[in-house]
Symmetry: C2
Subunit: 284 residues, 2 copies
C-alpha cells in the first residue's frame, strides 16, 4: 500500500482516502462519490479497529460483510481497497498511541473510554501508510471528525480532513452500520433521534437560543419513546465540544441514545449564516 | 519548511534530519557528518522543546547559544536550519500527544515523568514537517532513540531512525549540552561515569555475565566519587529496556548520575559478536 501510494504521489496525483470499518452503506457511498470528484486514485480502507472498541462493546459482533463491501466499492469506482489484518496493523509489541486531550474526554469519549485514542491511533497509521491528500469522514461522527482534524493540525499532517453530510433513510434515521442490530420495533422507534433533532431545529428557527430550554425539549421528545434511553443530549460548541449556555456561534446538537441495546448517535449542525450573525443555517 | 521538503522529495532527493535542542557540540557535529555522507539536503532543527522538560527541570536555564550554533551548522555544511518558535510548534489550543507505552515508563521515564511523551510528540511533528528519509540521533540517549524507533515502526512513519556513536572528551566524559553546568571540580568528578562503564566493560570482557554482580561493581565504583549520586545503574535488554538477570543478548549498561545538581547519563552498548554468541563486542 505504501509503495503504491508513494508512486501515486511521485506522479503528482491527488490521493483520496475513505477510511471505513466495512459494513458499508449509502453514507460510505456518499464519501466515495465526493472523493471520486476530487481525487484519483480513491482508496477505501476496511479495518474493524479493535482499539476503538471498549471491553464491553460490540467488537466481536460488529457487522462484517466483506464480500458485499467489495462489490459496493467496485460498483462505486474505488480504485484501491486497503484491507489489512489486525496483526499487520498491531504487531505483537505494538505500543504507541496518539491521544487528543480534552476533546477526547467528553461525550462519546466519556461514554466510551479509550475510544478516541483508538480512533486517532488507527487513523494516524492509515494516513502514514496511504499518504492521502484528502481524507473523508461522515458528519454523523461529528466528534470523531473534529478530533481527527485537531490531530492533523497539531501533528502537522499533510492530509486535509473533509467532513461530509449525514445520509438518512426516508424516515430520517441516520445511516449506520449498527442499524442492522435493530429489530423491526426498535427500527421504528429509532426515528425518534431524527424527530428530536428536527424539533430542535424548528425551535432554533423560531428564535430559541437558550441551550437548557432546547435540551429540555430534546429530552422530553426522546422520553416519549419508551424504547429509547438517553445517554446524552447536549448543545456544544462546534470547536471545543464544550456545552454552551446560549446558541450564539457554530454549535452541534448532539444525541446518543440507546434503542433497546443498540446505541445510536446523531446530530444537528447549527452555523451562523454570516460570521457573527444571530441568524443560523442548519445541517441535519 | 514543509514546502521546501516537499519540493526536495518531489525531486527524489534524500532528506536527512538532525533534530537538536541547540547548544551544539561535537556529538551533534558527528551526526551532521554522518547525515552529509548519506543525504542531500541535510536539515538541522533547533528547538528547545518545553514539553520534554518536567516542572522541576532546567527548561528556562537550558543553554541557548543560537549565534554560535548557526556558525557551527554553516561550518558543518548543513543545508537548512529549521528553528521554529514554541508558539508555532505548540499553538494555543494544541492538544495532541504521542505516547509510546512501556518503554517510556522506565529509567529516564520514571525519573522524568512525561519526558518521553514530550520527545515523541515533538519528533513526530518534526518528521511530518521535514519528511526526512533518514533521521539521526545520538546513542548517548539510548532510550530516546529506542522509543523513537518504536514510534516510527508502530505509526508506519517513512523515516529511518539512525543511531550514531557517543562522542567523548579526551578523558571519556560523554559530550552533552548539560556539561556546561559543571564547575571545574564537578567536571573532573563527572568522568566517573565513563570509568564505571569502562570497568563494567572489563568485567564483561573477562567473562562476567551476572547483572547483579555488574551492577554492584558499578555502584561501588560510582560511590567512590563523593560528588556523585546515582539515580540508576542498570543492565537492560536493548529492545525492551527491561532489567536482565544475565547478559546473554544485546544489552545496555545504563547510568544516570547526579554530579552536584547536574544530572548526567551515559551508557555502554553490549552486543553479541554473532547472533546467539556468548562473545560480545562493546560500544562505549
Amino acid at each position: 500500500m505504501k509503495e503504491m501510494a508513494g508512486q501515486a504521489r511521485a506522479e503528482g496525483r491527488i490521493i483520496g482516502l475513505v477510511p471505513t470499518m466495512g459494513a458499508l452503506h449509502e453514507g460510505h457511498a456518499s464519501l466515495i462519490v465526493r472523493a471520486k470528484r476530487e481525487c484519483s486514485p480513491v482508496i477505501a480502507s476496511i479495518f474493524v479497529n479493535p482499539k476503538q472498541f471498549g471491553p464491553n462493546e460490540d467488537f466481536s459482533k460488529y457487522p462484517r460483510t466483506f464480500e458485499s463491501d467489495v462489490e459496493k466499492l467496485q460498483h462505486a469506482g474505488v480504485d484501491v481497497l486497503f484491507a489489512p489484518e489486525a496483526a499487520e496493523i498491531y504487531p505483537k509489541d505494538f505500543s504507541t498511541h496518539v491521544q487528543v486531550d480534552g476533546l477526547s474526554d467528553r461525550l462519546e469519549g466519556r461514554s466510551r473510554p479509550g475510544h478516541f485514542r483508538g480512533v486517532a491511533t488507527v487513523v494516524m497509521k492509515l494516513l502514514q501508510i496511504v499518504q492521502p491528500n484528502l481524507t473523508y469522514f461522515g458528519r454523523k461522527d461529528a466528534q470523531q471528525a473534529r478530533i481527527i482534524g485537531q490531530m492533523a493540525r497539531d501533528l502537522n499532517l499533510d492530509s486535509e480532513i473533509v467532513v461530509c453530510p449525514i445520509v438518512r433513510e426516508a424516515d430520517g434515521l441516520a445511516l449506520s452500520s449498527r442499524n442492522v442490530y435493530l429489530n423491526p420495533e426498535e427500527r421504528k422507534a429509532a426515528t425518534v433521534l431524527y424527530q428530536a433533532l428536527n424539533a430542535a431545529k424548528q425551535e432554533l428557527s423560531g428564535g430559541v437560543r437558550d441551550a437548557l430550554h432546547l435540551q429540555t425539549s430534546l429530552r422530553r421528545k426522546l422520553s416519549g419513546e419508551k424504547l429509547a434511553a438517553v445517554d446524552y443530549a447536549e448543545i456544544v460548541d462546534a470547536e471545543s465540544f464544550e456545552p454552551v449556555v446560549r446558541v450564539s456561534r457554530a454549535c452541534y446538537v448532539l444525541l446518543a441514545v440507546f434503542i433497546g441495546k443498540t446505541r445510536l448517535i446523531d446530530n444537528l449542525y447549527v452555523v451562523p449564516k454570516e460570521p457573527g450573525s444571530d441568524e443560523f443555517v442548519f445541517q441535519l
